[in-house]
Amino acid sequence: MIGPPDDAPVLEVDHLQIDFVTRRGTVHAVRDVSFTIAHGETVGLVGESGSGKSVTAQALLGMIELPGKIVGGDVRWKGESLVHGPGVRRTIERVRGAEIAMVFQDPMTSLDPVFTIGSQIVEVLRRHRRLGRKAAKARAVELLDLVGIANPAARIKQYPFEMSGGMRQRVLIAMALACEPALLVADEPTTALDVTIQAQILELIAELQRELQLAVLLITHDLGVVAGVCDRVAVMYAGKIVEDAPAADLYAEPAHPYTAGLLGSTPRLDIVLDRLVAIEGAPPDLRLPPPGCAYATRCPHAVERCEAEQPSLERFVALPLAGEASEEDAVLAEDELDDPARTGRTVACFRADDLRRQRVSA
């Protein structure tokens, strides 16, 4: 396959801004979001409901429709814009479902109830691959086998209502993989499933990612879900990315107070807590986003500047592992800025450095 080298990003989201014009005002759902996904990389996009993560995902497939509108920025797929320029519709038509594929939250309703699952997989193959009926059918059987569905030749003749939720999500994943996409966007793929099935589906996605060299964008509100699967995690809050870090670093030491809050409210197996901590307050109204940091009103560490000025994503250097932490190490870390393994971390918080020092001296 001809494409950029492995470490070049396949997808670049560049200062993306998306508005929804409603009768009661314009909602600024995505406010200046930038991130990249490299070939074969698994990125988690985490945020609560209304943070703009699903809207961002839809923009990657050119699926923002009125009343939604991309009002700024760009999404580039292997260098080609999916937002503007001549031939953008052609590009989207070519890419959507073939090079970038999507799996949705609700497997119970994402399949057309009145067609067999086989015909729905065949439909994609015939659309993008121009396969004949027979070849497409054979490939559909192959795909169901790939996602771990037993007896696939019989299954393709079944209707969605004859399958369980977990099974349907496997079918949807098979459908998404039909044309060997380079990027799989999974929008809350496990939210509607029960816990044991959740684990199976995540395991399946991780497995396929390794086997097929897929890049994956995993969108979720649950930091617990991305923990085992993702290389990198971007945390969204109120239409902005507040922190973007390698997964291990983020869990070891969240740099943004919101990330810390999220982690504090995620149930964990390794720490005994009497009760989960909730983040006080509610996200701001995105029709009138605050002039400063959107999290400031809920943030225990907020200072005056936070409410007045918009923090931008700045490079953040992670601390050495807890226990070895010392002032000296922190200074040392500053010298390692050029080390690529340590520089892939950004945070949008004025207090990130202060808080890091506080943690070190504590």
Binding site: M63, G97, F104, T109, S110, E123, R127
Partner: protein
């Protein structure tokens, strides 16, 4: 399926029995047919003789008993108006004209309402949608006797396009259109709202994400799902047309069908003919209801019969 069919046929027999009983009782309440059959100058003895001849002098229960006995053998007695011709033969002579009219009207309704409703649903609230909705509302709200006469005046009287009454197939167009227009209005609205629902559903979003062409999403996925509510309502329209609206339309256009015959039979107190017409219509209604269920099963694989 076999079990379902036998069950429905059993229910159908009960329905037909109920309807014929009801009509039997009602016809006995609308007046003495003998006065309509014999000339005014007939003597009281002649009237009594005819009455006993037709069995009207017996008790209503004994009349009903013999009616049922004969009905099982499809013997509904002779029409009094049509010079003692077998009532069932008379009905069968008029039935094809009504079937023709209803079929033509319903085909028109099907062919027009589905595309119009689907087009309106593409942009709900858009100009075309508003136009089609207004048109549908006018269509479904205008009474057929009025609509029919306006069409009749325009086509046959003013512009002399076709004659009314029986004739070559061109005579069928305008009565069928009159029969169809209110149905088109209703069915367009049904198709429109069903399509709006389907086009907003998650599977349509998922299909778009797969890259399926818009034409295919609308014309295959959404339309097939929208067909589920449509089938039921279309079946009702067919029933309404056969068992009601043809009466009005046939009267306006002087169309020699079952509706025309029914009005005649009521006017002439032709009890046996009325009973036969109702019996035949009841059978058709039962059969159409079964056909709706079967069509339902074909459209929606989740339906178990």
């Amino acid at each position: 399926m076999g079990r379902y069919l036998s069950q429905r046929l059993g229910q159908g027999i009960v329905v037909i029995l109920g309807v014929t009983t009801l009509v039997f009782v009602v016809t006995r309440m609308i007046g003495d047919p003998v006065n309509f059959i014999l000339p005014l100058s007939a003597s009281e003895e002649q009237r009594a003789a005819l009455r006993s001849d037709l069995g009207f002098d017996r008790s209503i229960l004994s009349q009903f008993g013999s009616f049922l006995r004969d009905a099982v053998r499809l013997d509904f007695g002779n029409s009094t108006y049509f010079r003692n011709e077998d009532a069932l033969d008379v009905v069968m002579r008029f039935l094809p004209k009504t079937l023709q009219l209803a079929a033509a009207g319903m085909v028109m309704a099907l062919l027009l309402s589905v595309p119009l409703g689907a087009i309106a649903a593409l942009r709900p609230g858009g100009l075309l949608d508003k136009f089609l909705v207004t048109l549908s509302l006018i269509g479904l709200a205008t009474p057929q006797f009025f609509l029919g006469q306006v069409i009749l005046l325009l086509t046959s009287v003013k512009f002399n396009l076709v004659q009314f009454g029986d004739g070559p197939w061109t005579h069928l167009i305008f009565p069928a259109l009159t029969l169809a227009l209110p149905a088109i209005g209703r069915l367009t609205m049904v198709t429109r709202s069903a399509m709006i629902d389907e086009l907003n559903s998650q599977y349509v979003k998922a299909a778009r994400a797969k890259g399926v062409a818009a034409r295919r999403i609308v014309g295959v996925h959404a339309l097939r799902n929208a067909a589920i509510p449509f089938v039921t309502l279309f079946g009702w329209e067919v029933i309404r047309a056969l068992a009601g609206y043809t009466l009005v339309v046939e009267a306006v256009f002087d169309w020699p069908g079952l509706g025309d015959l029914a009005i005649l039979a009521i006017r002439e107190r032709d009890f046996f003919l009325i009973q036969t017409i109702v019996f035949i219509v009841a059978i058709m209604v039962v059969l159409i209801n079964i056909a709706i269920d079967v069509a339902y099963k074909i459209v929606d694989p989740r339906v178990k019969l």
